[in-house]
């Protein structure tokens, strides 16, 4: 019961604060937090099934460009472009999944790396469609059923909803029968397979869902910043998402939520020490991987478990 009250209070605070604190800049940061959170959650789904996928930044890019191009070239309203972006990426993930997910471990990393780099290369070189390195600008603002989203606050609330849904889906997937299957696969794949579990289909399912949310996150990003360029979807963006997951904790979806809230505003605070930001990230990752591999959330859980026994 106490948990639900805490959750309700948090939810209320999360939704209400931008109405009390009228600061465009803070709200702007908050929008970026919600978008990163959604992406980090989509990556988290893959990490939980033991697959380090490094294509998710490129997936975000695909969703972003799709949504932008659909609304700019075909005049589709945001309400159609947004889900279309998610579905397109999901379709690509579903199509490639059966091939990609035949392999695990480092081979999967290499595959998704090649795919991600290839996609970004296409963004850079197919200039007539994607605008090349200079990118696309002037992407129309989103509007929902006539209500135009023109303030950071509107995007924040929308992004918050999206992140919330991604969170709920992530929780549900792993709590359901599907989750039990995936956990058993993680533990002992041969045994599960001998029991008739089709390992690959389950993994493809997760890959598709995670691709869907990555695409949706990209769409929100596109209409919020009104500008897209290939460098926003490079491997380095993925490293950011990875750091969020490792620092927050991979084992539970709360990990990337916590990670995003902590890490996304950090570059804004460290504005003057920019040269050292990447170094800080590297050292942070190193420290966590060696000393606290279960992340902050995992670390807290371990602590509580130890207290109880």
């Amino acid at each position: 019961m106490a948990r639900r009250i805490v959750f309700a209070v948090l939810a209320l605070a999360a939704v209400g604060w931008p109405f009390l604190v009228e600061n465009r800049y803070l709200t702007h940061i908050a929008v970026l937090v919600t978008i990163s959170m959604t992406l980090a959650l989509s990556l988290n789904m893959m990490l939980r099934i033991g697959q380090l996928s490094v294509v998710h930044a490129a997936f975000m890019g695909l969703g972003a460009y799709t949504s932008a191009l659909l609304s700019m070239r075909l005049g589709l309203p945001f309400l159609l472009a947004f889900p279309a972006a998610g579905l397109l990426v999901a379709a690509i993930a579903a199509a490639l999944g059966p091939v990609f997910l035949r392999v695990k471990g480092v081979y999967f990393v290499l595959l998704t790396f090649a795919l991600g780099e290839g996609i970004v290369l296409i963004f850079q070189e197919w200039v007539s469609l994607f605008g090349g390195n200079n990118g696309i600008y002037g992407i129309p603002k989103a509007s929902l059923l006539g209500f135009a989203m023109s303030t950071p606050r509107a995007y924040y609330l929308f992004g918050l909803c999206l992140a919330g849904i991604a969170f709920l889906v992530a929780v549900r997937i792993f709590r359901s029968a599907l989750g039990a299957v995936l956990d058993s696969l993680n533990e002992n794949e041969d045994l599960s397979q001998s029991l008739g579990v089709n390992a690959r289909s389950y993994r493809v399912c997760v890959f598709t869902v995670s691709g869907f949310f990555a695409g949706l996150g990209g769409s929100v990003y596109a209409h919020y910043t009104s500008f897209l360029s290939p460098e926003a979807f490079s491997f380095w963006t993925l490293v950011d998402l990875l750091v969020i997951n490792v620092v927050g904790g991979i084992a539970s979806p709360i990990g990337p939520v916590v990670g995003a809230i902590l890490l996304v505003p950090l570059p804004e605070l460290l504005r003057d020490a920019k040269q050292y930001q990447m170094l800080t990230y590297g050292l942070l990752l190193m420290t966590f991987v060696i000393f606290l591999p279960s992340g902050i959330v995992g670390g807290i859980r371990d602590l509580r478990r130890r207290r109880r026994t």
């Binding site: 600061n23 465009r24 800049y25 702007h28 970026l32 200039v127 090349g132 390195n133 200079n134 990118g135 600008y137 002037g138 910043t225 009104s226 500008f227 360029s229 460098e231 926003a232 804004e268 504005r271 003057d272 920019k274 040269q275 930001q277």
Partner: protein
Amino acid sequence: MNVRLGSIVASLIGAMLASAWLPANAQDVLKIGVIGPMTGPGAQWGLATAGGVQIAAKEVNDKGGLKVGNKTYRVEVISYDEQYKAAVAISALQRLINQDGAKFVFGPVSSAGTLAVMDIVKQTKTIGITGAYSRKALDPSNPYMFRVYSVATDFAQPMVNWLKKNVRADLKRVAVINPNDETGWDSDKLLNDTYTKNGYTIVAKELYERSVRDYQPVLTKILAERPDIVDLGTAPPASAGLIVRQARELGYKGRFIKIGGSGPRQIIEGAGKAAAEGVINYLPADEQNPGYRRLAAEYKKMTGNEMNPLLVSWYDGAYILMAAIQSAGTVSDTDKVRQSFAKALPYKSVLGGTIRLGGKETYGIDNQFLTPNYIGIIKDGDVVTAGQAE
């Protein structure tokens, strides 16, 4: 010189009056923002932007502040790193406008960043003075965006004029090489038109893929046409250096010129002293000029680093902005300020040359600060100013 002297005298008088009548610390603040790449590739340009504006602000503050109307303002410079990423430039501008309350911003320096913020600049009526090279940075529909220095579109003709006067008249065969991206395509067209218009023959025009470092295939094609002059266009300076070196290795003995972004020192790094000898560069400033040396010494004292020549343009640009603000008599009505640039210019640069306001024929709007153009020739591992291009 008159404008600046006038404003200094005015602010001195203003400061004396203010200190006589008002409590010493009740000075209003004029916030000026700077957005440029301070880290990563392009950092030398971002640091030049920040450095130029900061030195100008410091000089004005040391003399008592900027007198606008009957108030004196302390100039505060707030700079942010755009990391050469458009999304970060957008964030930085949001912060400057909403958090810091700045109405005047120097930068972004990158073309992508500038294009990304153009809408925000227009909507919020912030005056943006950019360093972007893209043609699209200046647009008749956006009167709030200015460019602080001349770009290739502005100095291509002057440089070809210089070429006609200073390089043997019989050398008329020109080959042009550019990266295969938007800046390269613009340059390809610009150089083709400019050279042809002036009686040169374009014997080869190549676009190389940006990620290439082995220019042999492209150079083989070009050198087969026996050019007298090879123009390195918008190739990034370090790559231009590699092109020069590899061309020399293939036996090219002709001249090199770069009507594009300036970076002679990187050309020397990439090509090596011997191969880089004689390369003709565009220079935004004359490094042997006493005004330049003074600024360079000031910059070295402030940061410990060597100054990038572009700093001069930002320094001048800061004074031009402050003059426009004074002329408009307001620090908050940006419409009045932007209209006052036409009064603040022509302006005499710290190097002695004249900066004019122009751009109507090329861009459709007079928002371009046309800065003096210098020619630099690489001699014995260093750059020597060979005069001005008009």
